[in-house]
Amino acid sequence: MKLNKNMISIPITQKIARYASLTPTGQRLSIGVTALLMQTTIDATNKNVDEKTRKHSAIRTAVKQVVSATSGIMFREIGQKLVGQKLVESGKLIVPQYYLDAYKKFTPQALNREYADLIGKTVSQLKDPATIEMVAKKAFAKNVGAVCAITGAIIGIFIMDVPFTNKILNVVMDKFVNKKKPEQPKQ
C-alpha cells in the first residue's frame, strides 16, 4: 500500500502498550463495565417483547453482570496478588531462564521503561536503574499472578457463581420488580 501524507496513521505509543498489559483483573473489569452498560441497554430496547418483559430482562441482565463481575474480579485479585505474585516475590519460585534471556538484549533505557510499565509508574519516578534480574522477576511475578488469577476465577465459579447467582437474582427480582411502584428500580 502506497504511503501518502493524507493517510491516517495511529502511533502505538508506550502508553497504549501499557493498557495492553492489563492483568486478568483489569480485563474482567473492562469487560464487566462495558457489559453492564451495553447488554442492559440492548435488553431494555428489545422490540420483540412487551414492556414488562423488557424491564424484567434488563434488570435481570444487570444483576447477573454485577454478580458475576464482582465474583470474577474478587477471585482474580486474590489469585494475582495474594497467591501468584507473593509466591515469586518471596522467593519460593525461581525465575526461569527464559525470562532472563528475554530481557538480556534490552538496552538500559528499554529496561527502565519495561520496569516502569510493570510497576505502573513512569520512568522519571524510578529510584534506581532497572537491572535484568529485577525486570525478569517482575515480569515472571506478573505472569504467574495471571495464571493463578484464572485458576482462582475458575474455583470462584464453583464457590460463588453456581450457588449464589440464582439466589441473588431471585432476591433482587422480588424486591425491586414484584413490589409495586413507590420503590422504583435503580435506573
Binding site: 493517510m7 480485563q27 452498560l37 451495553m38 418483559t53 453482570q65 534490552f106 538496552t107 484464572i150
Partner: protein, 224 residues
Amino acid sequence: MAANVLINSLNKLSIFAHKNPSQFLKVTAATSFTIGSLAFIGGLLINNKIPKKEKNFMIAQEGAEGVLNLGVFLVAASAFEKAGRALIQKGIFRPDIIIDGAKLPFNKVQQAVKIYFKRPTLLPDKVFGPLSKAVKATEVLSSLVGTILAFNILVPIFRNKIAVYVDKKKNAKLNIDKGTLFSSALKPAEKMEFNSNDPFASFERKMTPIKTPVSFSGSSGLRI
C-alpha cells in the same frame, strides 16, 4: 512430587503468557467459559427442586448459551486480532520505536515491520524489543475490543432472537400437546359479535401476546 508438577506447570503457563499474550487471553477466557457452563449444568442436574421438564429445558438453554458464547467469542477475538496485525502491516497503526532517545522515522519503522513478520531474527535487538512489544500489545488490545463487541452486542442480539424463536416453538408445541388445536374445532360455535366498522375486532381479542420471553436470562451469562 506434586509440588514439582505444580511448579513446572506454573512456569510453563507463565512463559506462554509472556510469549503470546493474545493467545493466552483467548485460551483462558474459553476455558473459564466452558467450565462455567459445565458447572451451571452440573448445578442444575443435582438440583432436586426443579421439575424434570423444566430442568431439561434449562440445561439445553444453558448449554446452547455456553456454545454460543464460546463460538462468538473465539471468532470475534481471532478476527479482531488478525485485523490489528493487518493494520500494523499496512501502516495505519504505527509502532513508536525509540532508540537512544530518538524516534525512528516512519519509513524505517515500516521496513522493520516487514522484516518482523517474515524473518524476525534478522532484526537488530534494539529494534526487535520495542517492536515486538508494540505488536503484542496491538494484538491483545484488538482481541480485547473484539471480545467486548462479541459479548456485549452480538451475543445479546443473537440470544434475544433465538429466545423469541424458541418461545414461539414452545408455545406451538404446548398447544399441540394439550390438543387445543383440535379440541377447538369440537366446541360449540361461539357467538361472535359483528361490528360493521371493524369486522375483525373479535379476532384480536382472542389473541394473547407473548408475555414472558424464553429465559435465556435464566442462565448466568458471561463467566470469563
